[in-house]
């Protein structure tokens, strides 16, 4: 009993299915975009140009802590130079991390990062950092990695985030070898 009406119904339902599959794959860039825009999950903002001129920096101080992690498959030592620093809200500041390859061969690492508490993340803007490039260190090489950041004064207007007195910026370095995880049967 396969008349035209049935084919129409089935075809529209197939389109619905295809749409949902598309949505599932679109979720990958959409998820990243959503996190960047809202700061959810502790995603800090990436400021392209630093503080816009004319932004009032307030007198309130906020503590920024630095946390570092290295995946055990990467033979590096990676630490912040200072464990924490006090910064005026709105003031741009530079923080330094040092990374040292203590293994026997050259190794390349990439970093993932986030900010806690999450509600403060959208007000934490990184101006310049090392996070988007792969870093290659020869055996025994030691480098300084700078991060330039500021805390957006808009945080003071957010009733939820206003009470935050300490923000933690956390980096995790992973090995960047492309041959990493292919399955072996």
């Amino acid at each position: 009993m396969t008349n035209r009406r049935h084919i129409y119904t089935a075809a529209s339902l197939f389109l619905l299915v295809a749409g949902m599959v598309g949505l599932a794959f679109a979720s990958v860039p959409l998820y990243r975009l959503f996190c960047q825009v809202t700061g959810f999950g502790g995603t800090p903002r990436v400021a392209t140009g630093g503080l816009s001129t004319g932004t009032d920096s307030s007198d309130r101080q906020i503590t920024v802590r630095f946390d570092s992690n290295v995946n055990s498959a990467l033979p590096w030592r990676f630490k912040p130079v200072l464990r924490q620093t006090s910064v005026r809200i709105g003031e741009e500041k530079l923080a330094l991390f040092t990374a040292e390859n203590i293994g026997e061969k050259a190794a390349t690492g990439t970093a993932s990062f986030n900010v806690t508490p999450y509600k403060a993340a959208r007000y934490f803007a990184k101006v310049q950092c090392f996070c988007f490039e792969e870093q290659r260190l020869e055996a025994g090489q030691k480098v300084d990695m700078p991060v330039s950041f500021f805390v957006d004064p808009e945080i003071l207007d957010d009733p939820n985030a206003r009470d935050v007195s300490t923000i933690t910026l956390s980096y995790t370095f992973f090995p960047a070898e492309p041959e990493g995880d292919a399955n072996s049967w």
Binding site: R65, N69, N114, P117
Partner: protein, 286 residues
């Protein structure tokens, strides 16, 4: 009426707890326990009192529906009521049973959100510790006390000393001072784990590549146990959490000693491609 419910609920909960558990031990479960572990932190206390509200509601609703159904089956049994009526609508009733559940949910929502936001509060923490999940043990870092780190591994059955609870005791518990707000940062070195201590009202997943944050203030000295709460591989059941809360003075002494005893944090991250430590169940259950 609301407070009346609360006291009734608390009474019921207390009764259950007293009847069912030997409440002298805090920080871990007791045999035949039916209720939450005794609360040892402000968050856990709030969870307990919220639970009393929830428990009252759910018990009343379940027993109410059960009772009503029992009555209906008895009263409208075919023998007692051979002729069924044909009523299929009653607007007042339908409105009532839509609105009343909504009201009950609203009543639950207020304390629920209050608890949620209290757990999420960030205020001045006096110190920070970092928790890292591994297959299959936890490691703890103390960035504010000299940046030392150590592993906390379950003690296998055949190495337990008397008084150490099986599957919960560890070689190095994480030590914190009582009465102090502790910020806890959490991450994982491999797969997703979850750091949980029920009596302290703590449970936060540890996700690789991401740092989560929570806080705790322990009310009293003691050792508080928990277990990994996210399936993480073969020894998921064998990586317990042990939090030892001591006086501030004792903590100061301990942290100075620990800094010397444990490897400095910098050195610990130099472990090169270390294979996950295998704690095979065979070892454990001997």
């Amino acid at each position: 009426m609301f407070t009346h419910f609360r006291s009734v609920a608390t009474l019921i909960a207390l009764a259950c707890a007293t009847v069912a558990s030997d409440s002298s031990a805090a920080g871990l479960a007791t045999p035949w326990q039916v209720d939450l572990q005794p609360a040892a932190s402000p968050v856990a206390e709030q969870i307990q009192s919220f639970n009393a509200i929830l428990f009252t509601m759910e018990a009343l609703i379940t027993l109410g529906v059960l009772g009503l159904m029992g009555f209906i089956i008895w009263r409208f049994n075919a023998k007692r009521n051979p002729v069924p009526n044909k009523r299929t609508h009653n607007t007042a009733l339908e409105v009532l049973w839509t609105v009343v559940p909504i009201l009950i949910l609203v009543v639950i929502a207020f304390p629920s959100l209050r608890l949620l936001f209290f757990m999420d509060r960030t205020f001045d923490a006096d110190m920070t510790i970092k928790v890292v999940g591994h297959q299959w043990y936890w490691s703890y870092e103390y960035p504010d006390h000299g940046d030392f780190t150590f592993d906390s591994v379950m003690i296998p059955d055949d190495e337990l000393k008397p008084g150490q609870p099986r599957l919960l005791a560890v070689d190095n518990p994480v030590v914190v001072p009582v009465g102090v707000n502790v910020r806890v940062l959490l991450t994982s070195d491999d797969v997703i784990h979850s750091w949980a201590v029920p009596s302290l009202g703590l449970k936060t997943d540890t996700v690789p590549g991401r740092t989560n944050e929570t806080w705790v203030r322990v009310n009293e000295e003691g050792t508080y146990y928990g277990m990994c709460s996210e399936l993480c591989g073969v020894n998921h059941g064998y990586m317990p959490v042990a939090v030892k809360a001591v006086s501030k003075a004792e903590f100061d002494v301990w942290s100075k000693n620990a800094k010397q005893e444990f490897a400095d944090n910098g050195a610990s991250t130099t472990r090169v491609v270390q294979a996950p430590r295998e704690v095979s169940p065979r070892e454990v259950s001997q």
